[in-house]
Symmetry: C2
Subunit: 368 residues, 2 copies
DNA sequence: TCCGGAAGCTAATCCGATTTAGCTCGGGAG
DNA sequence: CTCCCGAGCTAAATCGGATTAGCTTCCGGA
């Protein structure tokens, strides 16, 4: 290994090996046979490269070949949604398998910034751009995104666009949530938390809300069951869930099951149930969406439909790197949302007969 | 705007403006005066650039100038620590202020991969590399990292190294945690969860554990107070905290305060307290570290010392971009950890007199 | 009338690879 | 004794800018 005063260049390697730069280039590109270069020369070049610790300058290569082995990953917020990091993780893994790195940027939803960052990435000659949203929603495709290869991740275009999209299969997840309840015998007193019971009673622009609700309603009505009610909420945080659940608990028919539209709403719902002396998984069922870590911290552990962040990220990069040209408008790849079955569902017989059966105050040995 | 068959080059702009490429270059670089180029020519060039939608090819520029306006951000895991995303966020913001983008990679702690990714980044001529850990720990500096500018983020080098480090001020945070308890009158029955009560009784390699404990002990003993005990845990998850807290609750002196070494342990501790009929903030105090979102979801809300992820990320990039040369060994930038005071601390008088005072079963109107 | 110098541009080189288009040499065919 | 061909390499162009080193004009002063 020689001193690293600047980096060793191909010319330097060639000189050491006593060949032309051309020859060195061909050897190191593995094109020896094709270029009819002798094995001895190959050996000399390789040795020189090894001895000098030669590494090709990717910038220079990129200029000539036009390929940077770099993908842009542009998202609205890396930060605020905790496990959205898995989106990046999946993308990173897929990228690495193709020997690519990820250039990232965060737009904070600002169209000006979106445009700026798309340009900054294209200026760096990225091979393509993944435009990601941290929760599934409709987005207006930023200016300039379509000037080169790109994919929407966890997002759908507001208007038809020649761009592929990768999203979780929210519709099927909604169906699965409903099936879980039907399977354990629930036929009435089923409430949704986060959206209203009717189609259209959803927070604006949230794909997940629309599709989950549609899936739920489809399966339930297929079994002749109707949602008993719901609470449309803008802010899907624990506090809002708590208040909404308390409200729903006063309604008729008495709630037997809650379908919470994310785990944070479930946290609030759990608190409401606990405060009103009900036991989750015994008196009332809770099914949730997202499967954030908190889902398995709760007691009893929460049954939830996971957002497959990692797979979403992977898929986006794979689509990007495989795609030869512009795709037919409206190409959407849907990734299944796995059901994580845990302890928050009760068989409905128990529920029916004794709403507060099993309630003997808080559990535990030291009970006062 | 012309059709984007390939990109418009500077040569094209120059031709349109009827000047040489040199002139166009100087104008667009804002060096008109310096190069004594007339205002008319400047106007022509600028107009041509505007009309063609010219954007400089950063790859080409980089090759000539050696500056890529890109920083490498290499971390062990982007994914598993939810709010570590804020590290990236801060880095991203600081980078953007300097017109840089971030090239990211994830090493999963694999030294082979670390080396590979450091090289992949250097091959792309990054201006510097931020080597980040998602929780504060000692790391062995990966091979090749010191070949160019670099900073450790949320990590300290195991052996002395000419590299700067940016970490949260865990020692001072430990002190703050102890002060919170002293201030509200706690002088006995203080237990730590996650580490033992003695120095050295900490999970291996975790800086946070060592320094927090040192800070706690320093302030307590300054007030003539000793830790009553603790529970050294490898796995700082809710379940482990739950078990540990249940165990500590059987010890003498009876626990009046828990210092949990992260919020997940606090989640478990809350559950243990609830299961044993104690009320957090009334019977027992809990102070925590990290301030993950769950801290404010808990009831009562948890007092916690926040990890300033955003500021850490920012600082790392700023240090990287400002640093002219190799730094003196052991340069460490410590970022304060803000105390988020919430509802989990009780004034000690109440605690003293009536350990289970205020316990009337679960709160709420519907109690059975 | 000649010269120096500034004003206003441009030709040419460089960055470090990849790639096209040869060039040289030796041997067998004619 | 040429000519041709293939084996084995290399010279030179190229990618798209940044930068150095001039090269013309024109004007004023001697």
């Amino acid at each position: 290994m020689l001193p690293a005063v600047g980096r060793v260049t191909l010319a330097e390697v060639a000189r050491r090996a006593g060949v032309s730069q051309t020859t060195a280039s061909f050897v190191l590109a593995g094109r020896r046979e094709e270029m009819r270069i002798s094995a001895q020369v190959e050996a000399r070049v390789r040795q020189a490269a090894r001895e000098t610790g030669y590494r090709p300058n990717v910038v220079s290569r990129s200029l000539r070949t036009g390929t940077t082995q770099t993908i842009g990953f542009l998202s609205d917020t890396v930060a605020t949604t905790p496990f959205a990091g898995h989106l990046i993780w999946g993308a990173l893994d897929a990228a690495r398998e193709h020997e690519h790195l990820l250039l990232i940027g965060e737009t904070e939803g600002d169209p000006e910034l979106e445009k700026e960052l798309v340009e900054a990435m294209r200026d760096r000659q990225v091979e393509g751009i993944v435009f990601a949203s941290m929760y599934t929603r409709w987005v207006s495709v930023p200016k300039g995104l379509l000037d080169g290869p790109s994919v929407l991740l966890n997002a759908l275009p507001t208007r038809p666009c020649p761009i592929a999209a990768v999203v979780p299969d929210e519709l099927e997840a909604g169906r699965a949530a409903a099936r879980v309840l039907l399977r354990s015998g629930h036929t009435s007193g089923i409430y949704v938390v986060g959206v209203g019971a009717r189609p259209g009673q959803v927070p604006k622009g949230v794909v997940a809300a629309v599709e989950r609700l549609a899936g739920i309603r489809e399966v339930l009505s297929g079994a002749g069951v109707e949602l008993a009610g719901g609470a449309l909420l803008r802010d899907w945080q624990p506090q809002a869930g708590y208040v909404a659940a308390l409200g729903l608990l006063k309604r008729k028919p008495e709630p037997r099951a809650f379908i919470c539209f994310n785990d944070r709403l479930s946290v609030g719902t759990y608190q409401a149930l606990q405060d009103t002396g009900r036991k989750v998984g015994k008196d009332v069922s809770v099914v949730s969406f997202d499967d954030e870590p908190v889902a398995s911290w709760l007691r009893p552990q929460l049954t939830s439909l996971a957002i497959p962040h990692y797979e979403l990220g992977r898929k986006a990069v794979e689509v990007l790197l495989s795609k030869p040209g512009p795709v037919p408008e409206g190409t959407v790849h849907r990734i299944p949302m796995p059901l994580r079955e845990r302890e928050s569902i009760c068989p409905v017989e128990a529920t029916r007969k004794h709403p507060l059966a099993g309630w003997r105050g808080p559990r535990g040995p030291l009970r006062g």
